[in-house]
Symmetry: C2
Subunit: 200 residues, 2 copies
């Protein structure tokens, strides 16, 4: 069967800049759809329901898990995060490209279910820079920042299970690498089945 | 071990425009080294010994096969073509990127020996266009062109075993796709082993 849409999964340690990369990527590739995750954590200042996340209470979230309505989910720092399955499957069915911006546990779950998913690990340029970004973001206490930094070291060890690693030193450079990855992945033979047959 | 150089293999049906793509690619990516193949066919007008090919007689070529001095070789239309092993292995050892412009039998041999080799199938945009290019090239009789076209159909069926397919409609567009593939392939986790460890 001819492949049509691409499922691009972006993840990486908290503070690596996934959000900024994702926003800039959507400006440059307006045809890509961003999947909206569900979460049980409280909204940060400025976050909008249905745009940044679907903010759910824990009871409802657990029901969605039980009903198989999540493509992946994870518990991170005492909150649940997950990807509603329906939107992703419908988009791919229509041949649209879709981005998931999810955490590492979730990314590896998606790869198991969809081996054709393209996993990109967004890495901070250094541990010191990661710490600086978390402090500037101003959403976490010093204690939580310490926990995130410790987690980051373990997460970096899982980068080897990703398809690609992109160091987010400058957002525009990281985005241009991801765009190259999209171009490359759209050149996989599975996208050319019917073309390759017209020669016979 | 940290990966350094990339082995890029370009192939595709005769007349797909591999040569033009390869030349333009080297202009845009001057750090890439082109491996020079050995062949037993006679030089075409303008071809230079040691630049386009090493032109060898059949006896010497067969000795190189026996001595294991070729990375791959193939017999195509009653001529031998092959890749001298030493140059490729030395370049990769130095961390340099290298292109092989070889035929399909050879490409698949290389992939078996070096699974990390990146195989790009250069496809003509249509059968009619392929025929036109072979006629314009003016190096083959009508009989040989007929044989090449028939071969092309079979070769297109092997494109599924390549990592990527690039349709050479316009050389500059094909080259920009191959450059994106290079950027993507240089983002494989194997190139970041030591970077990913500095967080621990």
């Amino acid at each position: 069967m001819e492949r049509k849409g691409l499922l691009l999964v972006l993840s990486g340690p908290s503070g690596a800049g996934k959000g900024a990369v994702c926003k800039e990527l959507q400006i440059n590739e307006p045809s890509i759809r961003l999947s909206v995750s569900a979460t049980t954590r409280l909204p940060r200042r400025g976050e909008v329901e249905g745009v940044d996340y679907f903010f759910l209470d824990k009871e409802l979230f657990k029901k969605m898990i039980q009903n198989g309505q999540l493509l992946e989910y994870a518990e991170v720092y005492d909150h649940y995060y997950g990807t509603p399955r329906r939107f992703v499957e419908e988009s791919l069915g229509e041949g649209l490209d879709i981005i998931l911006e999810i955490d590492i546990q979730g990314a590896l779950q998606v790869k198991e279910k969809y081996p054709e998913a393209v996993l990109v690990f967004i890495a901070p340029p250094s541990k010191r820079e990661l710490e600086k970004r978390l402090i500037i973001r101003g959403t976490d206490s010093q204690e939580v920042i310490g926990m995130r930094l410790q987690c980051a070291a373990g997460e970096m060890r899982l980068a080897g299970r990703y398809d690609y690693v992109v160091i987010n030193d400058e957002v525009s450079k990281a985005v241009s690498k991801i765009r190259a990855i999209l171009t490359a992945e759209k050149s996989r033979p599975g996208f050319f089945n019917s073309f390759l047959n017209i020669f016979n």
